[in-house]
């Protein structure tokens, strides 16, 4: 469902993407692939690998958001629906060169799906049957969670579909758990 005012974000995404430094896509794909391979070797349990990927993503996300704000100049979003558009059209474009589609909002506008048609992380990757439990690009879920937490939104992001598992497109479900308010920071509270 196209929303009025959703268009500008495509353009902003293009503009920012044009400005940023780029690296070779193969190098990026291979580097990520070797990270996942190493984690699989180290942890063996695929559920644990998913968790580790998400954690790594979180640590990336809390820093990535600052780079995003510095380069894109996007201000505060009016509501969660705007946040979704910014993540999909500007965020993903800036860092991965792709745009995602925002779909399947729930009634309260607190959950949505990010649908990715292609993803540089999974380019040329094939997952054997025995790796069905692995969400290969799970790092992205962590990145989304880390980045949004730094701008006062506590979310949960999980993969629900992945092209490596045979689906047509990959899908990440993002759920808003809580808006963090400006509580009095620790340094001001009486000991």
């Amino acid at each position: 469902m196209a929303q009025k005012g959703a268009r500008p974000y495509d353009r902003i995404g293009e503009q920012v993407f044009a400005k940023v430094d780029k690296i070779n896509a193969e190098l990026f794909t291979l580097t990520y692939g070797s990270i996942v391979t190493q984690l699989v070797k180290d942890y063996e349990d695929l559920g644990e690998v998913n968790t580790q990927l998400e954690k790594m993503g979180y640590n990336i996300g809390v820093r990535l958001i600052e780079e995003f704000l510095a380069r894109s100049n996007v201000g505060r979003c009016a509501d969660f629906t705007e946040t979704a558009e910014v993540v999909a059209k500007v965020g993903f474009k800036m860092f991965l060169g792709i745009t995602a589609n925002v779909t399947d909002w729930d009634a309260e506008k607190k959950e949505f799906s990010l649908v990715l048609d292609d993803n540089p992380l999974t380019e040329f990757v094939e997952l054997p049957e025995s790796y069905n439990k692995l969400w290969y690009a799970n790092i992205l879920c962590g990145v989304i969670r880390g980045a949004l937490e730094m701008v006062q939104m506590k979310v949960e992001a999980t993969y629900v579909k992945c092209v490596l598992h045979g689906h047509d497109a990959s899908e990440i479900r993002v759920v808003l758990k809580e808006i963090l308010t400006d509580e009095i920071p620790a340094s001001m509270r009486d000991e």
Binding site: R63, E66, E67, L69, A70, G75, M150, I184, P185, M188
Partner: protein
């Protein structure tokens, strides 16, 4: 110690606060009256700004964004400039009273220096004081080249 011409534009000092309200960086260039207790002063500064921000938002005749609404305040002896990022990093700069609004400069300081040399430094952990050499050098260069800095 930098000599300054009377009445010229001057940067006095800079505070950077993180989300939790800790002063992660402080530097002074032209401060005449040294602080008796720097840590105490930094806490007071944060507390004041925190309350001021809330007050400014409450008393505004029309809705304003609490993070960007307040730009600066001016007294007979100095001007305090304020910039807060959406990630709650706060930049506070004190200058002489005639310096124009430094909001754009503070934004550049954030984008080109803080993000580049602090956020992207893998050894820097949030809530730690900033000790990154490259940051300190880049910051010194940036401040010196501001039209508002007198040398």
């Amino acid at each position: 110690c930098i000599a300054f011409a009377r009445g010229a534009n001057m940067i006095l000092n800079l505070y950077i606060y993180n989300k939790s309200g800790f002063c992660i960086y402080y530097e002074e260039w032209n401060r005449k009256k040294p602080s008796s207790n720097l840590e105490e002063e930094q806490k007071l500064m944060f507390g004041m700004l925190f309350s001021l921000r809330a007050f400014v938002t409450k008393t505004s005749p029309k809705p304003i964004d609490p993070q960007t609404g307040f730009h600066y305040y001016k007294t007979s002896s100095y001007k305090l400039h304020f910039y807060e990022t959406p990630t709650s990093v706060k930049f506070v700069v004190l200058t002489d009273p005639h310096t124009p609004d430094l909001r754009e400069e503070l934004k550049k300081l954030y984008s080109n220096i803080f993000v580049e040399y602090v956020v992207k430094n893998p050894l820097y952990r949030a809530d730690q004081p900033v000790k990154c050499e490259l940051f300190i050098q880049a910051l010194a260069k940036f401040i010196r080249f501001l039209p508002s800095f007198s040398s």
